[in-house]
């Protein structure tokens, strides 16, 4: 996870966000979270509210259909690898220590269309997937 921090100032955390774009399609972007609290030896972000956490495991071979997240939530990969695929043919593989913040929610007053909305996920590699979800 050390690559997520800028080495020069050690003051920024790069948050990978899976979000719903204005066209209803899921995309990735990066956001910089400033670690401007704490001390030089323990730089902290602001304290963010959260709504509980949940641990999950998925076996080798797991793969989902296109879906939207039910909540905004952090997903931290603890074991195995998780691939997140989008409608545009791009997918990213997240390894242990990596994360994304899932904000790919069904737009208000829209009916889920699997040809437009959502993302898919699957387990990758020889190890079962273990993740930590933190709602926020």
């Amino acid at each position: 996870m050390s690559d997520l921090f800028e080495k020069r100032a050690m003051a920024v955390f790069t948050k990978v966000v899976l979000f719903t774009d204005t066209d209803g399609r899921a995309r990735f972007r990066e956001e910089a979270l400033t670690l401007d609290q704490g001390s030089p030896q323990s730089m902290l972000s602001a304290l963010f509210a959260s709504g509980g956490y949940q641990l999950r495991t998925s076996p080798v071979g797991f793969r989902s259909e296109f879906h939207c997240s039910g909540y905004t939530q952090w997903v931290f990969i603890l074991q195995g690898q998780m691939e997140i695929g989008l409608h545009d043919g791009v997918s990213r593989i997240f390894k242990p220590g990596e994360h994304f913040y899932s904000a790919d929610l069904l737009p208000p007053e829209q009916i889920f269309d699997p040809a437009i909305h959502g993302h898919w996920s699957r387990q990758v590699g020889p190890d079962a997937l273990v993740t930590l979800f933190v709602r926020g």
């Binding site: 399609r25 995309r27 990066e30 545009d88 043919g89 791009v90 997918s91 990213r92 593989i93 390894k95």
Partner: protein, 235 residues
């Protein structure tokens, strides 16, 4: 006959959108490319070479809105770029649509495909000016512009002039800096996997896993944003 992965082809609605997509998806800005007068297209390039794919680069290609096409220009552009369905698909986002393999004997490779009942198209002479000189190549392009096998049958290219002693001297890979993106593998699925595999073997192309399934080309890349996979999704 030696055949290697030469480059991946990503079709973008405009080159500007292709650059933005590349920056957002892979975290790098592609290097400069050039213009193809014959087809009215232009491109941006970046190196993705590894020891397993020593010549590989990625091409983001788009129709050049400012190009003035010659009267004798082919009616259909290469890589199915005039196909309405393909254009509609890339209207949303650029997509991996095909790949190109370089060969030491393009005529022999083309003949090998012909023997398999596959018309890869005539061999065309092409060139563009670069800062290092005139870059020349021969490439197979069908008159109808079709890629074949949903893009999974590669276009053939042979760099340099036919009698060039150093045909790879001006290969784009040699003038592109390291991009931070590297090609880790290509996997293909196709409903006619057996025929496709036979075609690969006929041209001496190895190292690509071909399995039966819905048409797809999947390129796995290491990027500054982590592992990114590009799927053609049967386009």
């Amino acid at each position: 006959m030696k055949t290697h992965i030469d480059h991946l082809v990503v079709f973008a609605r405009t080159l500007e959108l292709g650059v933005q997509w590349c920056e957002a998806t892979m975290g790098i800005t592609p290097g400069p490319g050039g213009e193809h007068a014959l087809y009215g297209t232009h491109n941006r390039l970046f190196k993705i070479a590894t020891p397993a794919y020593p010549m590989a680069y990625l091409e983001i290609i788009a129709i050049n809105p400012d190009a003035v096409r010659a009267v004798q220009a082919p009616q259909r552009r290469w890589f199915d770029m005039d196909d309405a369905a393909l254009q509609a698909a890339v209207a949303d986002a650029p997509r991996l649509v095909s790949f190109v393999v370089n060969t030491s004997d393009i005529q022999a490779a083309r003949s090998a495909l012909t023997a398999q009942g596959i018309d890869r198209g005539p061999v065309l002479q092409a060139s563009r000016r670069t800062r290092r000189g005139l870059l020349q190549w021969q490439i197979t392009v069908r008159a109808d512009g079709q890629r074949l096998f949903d893009g999974a049958l590669p276009t053939l290219i042979q760099w340099g002039k036919t009698d060039d002693a150093e045909p790879m001297r001006l290969h784009p890979r040699n003038s592109l800096p390291r991009s931070g993106v590297t090609l880790q593998g290509i996997a293909v699925t196709h409903p006619t996997a057996g025929k496709l595999q036979a075609a690969y073997e006929a041209i001496g192309l190895t190292g690509i896993a071909v399995e039966s399934g819905p048409a797809n080309i999947c390129a796995t890349l290491h990027t500054p944003k982590g592992v990114v996979k590009l799927d053609s999704c049967g386009l």
